[in-house]
């Protein structure tokens, strides 16, 4: 194991972390502010990717496709929230789980009807195809762009949440929604806004992942599960927790998968290590989550209420 390899894997971990942050920034607010369990967030990730594929086919420009993908996903998010989810805010979590599961089934099938069962690709834009030289380490420019977008979104979210009136209202809504509503602010419109923005960010994550992974029906679910791990370990409702949680989960998962099969034979017998390596690597983040929750059931950065 060379230092270069380790650094490359570290950057890959950061890159996965940034995608997870794009997913979890919106979702943690939906969970925290609206108290709504939305399992269909991965659906917006998938829809973002598919819509970008369609827009790319029409315009032949990656940036135009990205803008169209994010915009269309945002609008779809708003539509779904208005049509379906508002009816469930007052209900038990169970019904929210059920309705969003139904949405997953529906949209997975819809993309199969429209785009067919085989997987599609978004080509890497021309100006991001090369590698970047980082202090002697060459790293694919596109993956670096993902990291940059993630950091940019993190900064923008921080600014939105802490230095604007909307962000102040969102934070106030998270700690006491009824009071904010009583003060005369339209909390329903705020919910729609947060949900739409979250869906848009998920769409952005999906289309950014497009050139690395294949675009196919059901692509959102594995990412959703990782996102849920991020949100629960970071602390439900905390954007800061989502950021650190995403980075940590991204790195633990990537580095575990890359180095566990290499490192384990030093500790265990060879035959045991060969079978146990991949298993341990893939369950590492869930173990991490279990440990965090066993110690602090409300996550690493619990949101203080009251």
């Amino acid at each position: 194991m060379t230092p270069e390899l380790f650094l490359t894997q570290l950057l890959n971990g950061v890159q996965l972390g940034m995608l997870l942050f794009l997913m979890s920034a919106g979702l943690t607010l939906v969970f925290g502010i609206m108290g709504f369990v939305n399992l269909a967030h991965g659906t917006f990730y998938m829809l973002g990717a598919y819509l970008a594929v369609a827009a790319y086919g029409a315009t032949d420009s990656f940036l135009a496709a990205a803008a169209a993908g994010v915009g269309a996903t945002l609008l779809l998010g708003v539509a779904v929230e208005r049509l379906v989810l508002t009816r469930l805010y007052q209900r038990d979590h169970l019904y929210q789980v059920l309705a969003t599961l139904g949405l997953i089934l529906f949209f997975n099938e819809v993309v199969r009807i429209i785009w067919g069962p085989s997987s599609l690709f978004i080509p890497t834009p021309q100006w991001l195809t090369g590698t970047l030289d980082l202090f002697g380490l060459s790293y694919p420019a596109y993956r670096f762009a993902i990291i940059a977008v993630g950091v940019g979104v993190a900064l923008a979210t921080y600014w939105l949440m802490h230095h604007t009136r909307v962000g102040m209202l969102i934070r106030a809504g998270a700690s006491d929604g009824a009071m904010v509503s009583a003060l005369g602010f339209n909390i329903r419109r705020m919910n729609t806004l947060v949900f739409g923005l979250g869906a848009g960010l998920a769409g952005l994550a999906g289309l950014m992942a497009g050139p690395i992974l294949s675009v196919q029906s059901g692509m959102g679910e594995p990412v959703l599960i990782l996102t849920l791990v991020v949100i629960v370990t970071g602390g439900i409702g905390s954007v800061r927790g989502a950021f650190y949680g995403a980075l940590f989960v991204g790195m633990v998962d990537t580095i575990g998968r890359a180095f566990m099969p290499v490192l384990l034979p030093h500790v265990l017998e060879r035959s045991v290590a060969q079978t146990a390596g991949p298993t341990i690597a893939s369950v590492l983040i869930y173990l991490f989550m279990a440990v965090v929750l066993a110690i602090s059931p409300r996550g690493l950065f619990p949101v203080r209420h009251g």
Partner: protein, 332 residues
């Protein structure tokens, strides 16, 4: 518990109809339906198990596919890996492994509640899924065929009708046991915890212990369903441990009515019946919608589930008892 004649009559009719399935199917020359209803009853059994903590304990677990998977892989690993086909050993191993897993996992999961409980059970379910995927000796991602059905000595499951009868009897037994359990002092305390955990704790009931026992029982029932599922399909694969399976069980419970013991059976019949009907019945729909529906049944099922979640508050069982008396459990 408000009881009325309609619900009892419907329950009796549904159970009788299920008993008649093999005879009717063979009389019609449609042996396939014995397999279909075997699957329905197995999933109903798992859902009835899960309903103990969901409907009566108020705990939404999205990870019970894990225990179904333990049952499936217990049969698969013992019979294809170790060459042991003894059914009693299969059941014993499945239940023991389940207990050994459910107690520590339950202790961790039950530290959380509400939303976090849903998430953590889901994560543990996924963990089991990835473990199943990495079991290369047992087919990894693709899964592997199981050579023979479990051998219970005098009782041979080789015949599909016998297997159906065994599944049916186990379902009846479980229904009866659950019926007694939720009306026992244990069940009353459990329901009390669902309504107001703090008050039950103040009354001196160790809430965690009650919830853990309920979690364990529900896991064991799911593992039993897994053993039966492995015997039915003669296949083990990570797809049985997927979180979609846990989701399907939840759908069955809510669709059927989670306030009742038998509700999940109605839910399983309705949900899987709908899927089957969408695929195999030719619906007279205009504009080519008929072929779209039969090629993509899950799109319709998805809409159906969303509508159920929005509109149906006490499930199919609730519809039956609505006219006669109070709903059995007002869900908040």
């Amino acid at each position: 518990m408000a009881k009325n004649r309609t619900t009892l009559l419907v329950a009796a009719l549904v159970l009788l109809a299920q008993a008649a399935v093999p005879f009717v199917a063979h009389a019609l020359g449609q042996g396939y339906y014995v397999t279909f209803f075997s699957r329905v009853l197995i999933l109903a059994l798992a859902a009835i198990g899960l309903n103990l903590i969901l409907g009566f304990g108020g705990l939404v677990s999205m990870g019970h596919a894990l225990y179904v998977g333990v049952g499936v892989y217990a049969v698969g690993i013992l019979s294809s890996g170790w060459g042991i086909s003894n059914g009693w050993l299969h059941v014993g191993a499945a239940l023991m492994v389940t207990a050994a897993m459910a107690i520590p996992l339950g202790l961790i999961c039950l530290r959380t509640s509400g939303m976090a409980f849903i998430m953590i059970t889901l994560a543990f379910g996924q963990m089991a899924y990835y473990v199943a995927v990495t079991l290369r000796a047992y087919g990894g991602d693709d899964g592997k065929a199981i050579p023979v059905r479990s051998d219970f000595g005098v009782l041979s499951l080789a015949d599909g009708n016998v297997l159906y009868a065994v599944i049916y009897l186990l379902l009846l037994l479980t229904l009866y046991a659950m019926h007694c359990l939720v009306r026992s002092p244990f069940g009353v305390v459990l329901r009390g915890i669902k309504l107001n955990e703090r008050r039950m704790a103040a009354l001196g009931y160790p809430a965690l212990r009650y919830k853990l026992v309920a979690y364990l029982i529900s896991a064991l029932v799911c593992a039993l369903a897994g053993v039966l599922l492995a015997n039915l399909t003669l296949y083990m694969s990570p797809s049985y441990v997927q979180w979609q399976v846990s989701g399907e069980l939840l759908m069955m419970i809510v669709l059927g009515g989670m306030g009742s013991v038998i509700g999940p059976l109605y839910g399983a019949l309705a949900l899987l019946g709908l899927e089957e009907a969408l695929v195999s019945v030719h619906w007279p729909l205009p504009w080519g919608l008929d072929s779209l529906v039969s090629a993509h049944p899950m799109a319709v099922v998805g809409i159906f589930i969303v509508l159920v979640a929005i509109l149906l508050k006490a499930g199919l069982h609730g519809l039956l008892s609505r006219r006669a008396a109070l709903p059995e459990t007002g869900d908040h």
